[in-house]
Amino acid sequence: MILRILETTENGLTYLARFLAVISALAIGSITTIICVSVIMRRVANSPLFYAEELVGLLLAVTLFFALPLVTLRGDHIRVTLLANQLQKRGRAYLGLVAGIVVLAFLGWLIFESVEWMAFAIRLGLKTEATSIPLVPWMAIVPFSLCITTFGVIVQLCLALARINTGGADQKSEVQTAPKNLQKQAD
C-alpha cells in the first residue's frame, strides 16, 4: 500500500518535473530569441534591446532551476561512479541511500538558507539595476525548484527503503540519486 502511494507520488512528481523542464526549454528558446533580436536591432537600427542582458540573466536562472527537478529525479547528474561500479546490486542500493542523504542534506541546507534570502529580497523589494524588473518572483524560482527536487529525492529514498525492506533490492531499489551510467547523457 505504502509502496503504491510512493510510486504514484513519484509518477506525479515526474510529470510536474517534465512540465517544469518544458518551461526551462521555453526559457532557453526565449534567451536565443531575445539575444538574436537584440543583435539585429543593434546592427540594423543601432538600438539594442535595453532590457536584453538583465532579462537573459533571469531566464538563465529559470533554465537551470526548472530543469533541475527532472534531471535529479532521472538521476542524470554528473557523479563519481568508481566505488558504486565495484559493488553488487544490493551494495549499490545502500550506497544509493547514502548518496540520497548527501543530496538531501545539500538541498535541505539551501532551502533553509533561502528562507532568509527570500525574506531579505521581499523586505527590500529588490529590482534589477537598469530596467527595474522586480527580482522577487524570479528569485522565488530557486526555493520552489529546490523544494520540488527535495520532495522528489525524499520520495525516491522512501521508495528505495521500502523496496529494500520488502526484499526487492535486486530489482528496483536503487534511488535515482544513485550512480547511473553517464553514457545516457550522450543518447
Binding site: 532557453i28 543583435v39 533554465t63 533541475l68 561512479t81 548518496a99 545539500f106
Partner: protein
C-alpha cells in the same frame, strides 16, 4: 584541520555516488558554517549572482547548438563531402575522422557531441569498409576531444566566466593549438598506417582533384555557421554570448534547409539541452559555493605562498598540477574537474606568472585528456556504446593511449612556446 575536513568530506560525499554538485556544495556549506563563522548565507548569493548572468547564458546556448547539430544529419553530409579528400593518403577515412571532428569542433562546443555525431556516421561506414575497429574508435575518441579545444568551446566559456577572463580571447587562443593537435593526430595515423598497412583498406576508386574541390565547397553551410560564430567574435560584431545565440539560429536554419531536421528534432534538442545544462549547472552551483568558502578563508593565497616557498619553481608547480589533473581525470568528468579545481588552480598559476589565456588553453587540454581516460572518459563510453560494445571500453581506452600521449606532447610544446596560443589573441584583441 581545514584540509582534513575538506578532503575527507568531499571524498566521502562524492564517492557515495551523489550528484557531484551536491557533494561539492555540501562541502562548501560545511566549511562556510564551521570555518568561516557561519557565513552560509553567502552561498545562495554566490549561486544567484553566477546564474543570473548574461555571459554564462552562452553555456546552454552552445549545448543547444551541439544538440541541434547532433540531430541535424549535417555530420553525415560533412563526412561524405570530406571523404574523397583523403582517399589517396595512407589511413584514408581515419584522417577524415580527424578532419571532420576539427570542422565539427568549430561549430560545436562539446567534445561529447562531436564524438557522438561523427562516431555515429563514421563507425558503421568504416567498419563496413574493413578498417581496424580499434583504430577507428581511437581516432574518433581523440578527434572528438577537439570539440573542446577548437572554439567555440564549453570549456573556454566556463573557464572565462568563472575566472573573469575574456572569452573572446580564449576562443581565439584555441584555434592554433587545436589545429596543431589535429595535425599531430593525422601525422600519428599516417605513421601507423605506413608501418602497418593492414589497419586500413586500399581504396581503388581514383577521384579527381576537381571532385575533391567541389565536394569541399559543398559544405559551405557549415563554413557559414563557423563564420556566424567565430567570425562575428573576431570581427567584433558580437560577444561570445551573442555569437552563441546567433549560431543557434543559423544552425536551426541550416539544419532545416540542408540537413534532415524537423520540428520534432528541434523540440528534442531544446528539451535535451536544458537537461544537460542542468547536469553541468549543478556542478557549477556546488563549485561556486565551495569556491566561495575557500576564497573567504584565503586558501588560494595560502597555497600560492606555500608553492612559492616550496622551491619547486613555477614549472615544477605546473608539472604537479598537470599530474593532479591526469590523476583526477580518471575519476571526474572533464568539465566538472575544471569547475571544481579552478578556484585554486587559477589564482595559483596566474600568481606564479602564467598568462591566464594560455592557462585556459592548457587546462582545456588537460581536461580533454580526462575525456579519454577510463573509467570516466565520457568520449570512450559514448563510442563504446556506439559500437554496441564491439569495441569494449577497455579496448577503446588502449586504442586512445597514443592520442592521450599526443595531448601530453601538446602540453609540453605549449609550455615551451606559449606564443602558439597567444599570438592570435594578441593580434586581434
Amino acid at each position: 584541520m581545514f584540509w582534513t575536513t575538506l578532503l575527507s568530506l568531499l571524498t566521502a560525499s562524492a564517492a557515495s555516488g551523489a550528484a557531484l554538485g551536491a557533494a561539492l556544495g555540501l562541502t562548501g556549506l560545511f566549511i562556510l558554517h564551521f570555518f568561516a563563522g557561519g557565513a552560509t548565507s553567502l552561498a545562495l548569493d554566490a549561486v544567484w549572482n553566477t546564474f543570473n548572468s548574461f555571459t554564462l547564458s552562452a553555456i546552454p546556448l552552445f549545448i543547444l547548438l551541439g544538440e541541434i547539430l547532433l540531430r541535424s544529419g549535417l555530420s553525415e553530409r560533412v563526412y561524405t563531402a570530406i571523404t574523397p579528400v583523403f582517399t589517396r593518403v595512407p589511413g584514408g577515412l581515419l584522417h577524415t575522422n580527424i578532419a571532420v571532428c576539427t570542422i565539427f569542433g568549430a561549430v560545436s562546443g562539446s567534445s561529447l557531441s562531436t564524438a557522438a555525431a561523427i562516431g555515429s556516421v563514421a563507425y558503421p561506414e568504416m567498419r563496413r569498409r574493413g578498417y581496424n575497429r580499434d583504430m577507428i574508435v581511437g581516432s574518433l575518441a581523440g578527434g572528438g576531444t577537439l570539440g573542446l579545444l577548437i572554439p567555440p568551446s564549453l570549456s573556454f566559456l566556463i573557464f572565462g566566466a568563472l575566472t573573469e577572463t575574456s572569452i573572446g580571447r580564449l576562443f581565439i587562443a584555441g584555434i592554433i593549438p587545436g589545429l596543431m593537435v589535429a595535425l599531430m593526430f593525422m601525422v600519428y595515423i599516417l605513421i601507423c598506417c605506413l608501418r602497418n598497412p593492414s589497419l586500413y583498406p586500399r581504396e581503388s576508386i581514383a577521384i579527381s582533384m576537381l571532385k575533391v574541390l567541389t565536394n569541399g565547397l559543398s559544405i559551405w553551410p557549415i563554413l557559414m555557421l563557423i563564420f556566424a560564430i567565430m567570425g562575428s567574435i573576431i570581427l567584433g560584431w558580437a560577444t561570445p554570448t551573442e555569437a552563441a545565440a546567433v549560431g543557434v539560429a543559423v544552425a536551426i536554419l541550416i539544419a532545416f534547409l540542408w540537413g534532415d531536421f524537423n520540428s520534432q528534432k528541434l523540440l528534442e534538442s531544446f528539451y535535451r539541452s536544458v537537461q544537460l545544462y542542468a547536469a553541468i549547472g549543478l556542478v557549477i552551483v556546488g563549485a561556486t559555493i565551495l569556491a566561495q568558502s575557500v576564497a573567504i578563508l584565503g586558501v588560494p593565497q595560502a597555497i600560492l605562498e606555500s608553492a612559492a616557498a616550496s622551491g619547486l619553481g613555477k614549472y615544477g608547480v605546473l608539472a604537479l598540477i598537470v599530474l593532479t589533473y591526469l590523476l583526477l581525470g580518471c575519476i571526474f568528468d572533464g568539465l566538472s574537474l575544471m569547475i571544481m579545481t579552478l578556484p585554486i588552480v587559477f589564482p595559483l598559476l596566474t600568481g606564479l606568472g602564467f598568462d591566464p589565456i594560455w592557462l585556459g588553453v592548457m587546462v582545456t587540454i588537460m581536461i580533454e585528456i580526462g575525456q579519454v581516460t577510463p573509467p570516466v572518459g565520457l568520449n570512450l563510453s559514448v563510442l563504446a556504446s556506439l559500437t554496441n560494445n564491439e569495441v569494449t571500453l577497455g579496448r577503446a581506452a588502449l586504442a586512445t593511449i597514443p592520442y592521450w600521449l599526443i595531448f601530453l606532447l601538446a602540453l609540453v610544446i605549449l609550455t615551451m612556446f606559449p606564443q602558439i596560443a597567444l599570438v592570435l589573441p594578441n593580434k586581434f584583441f
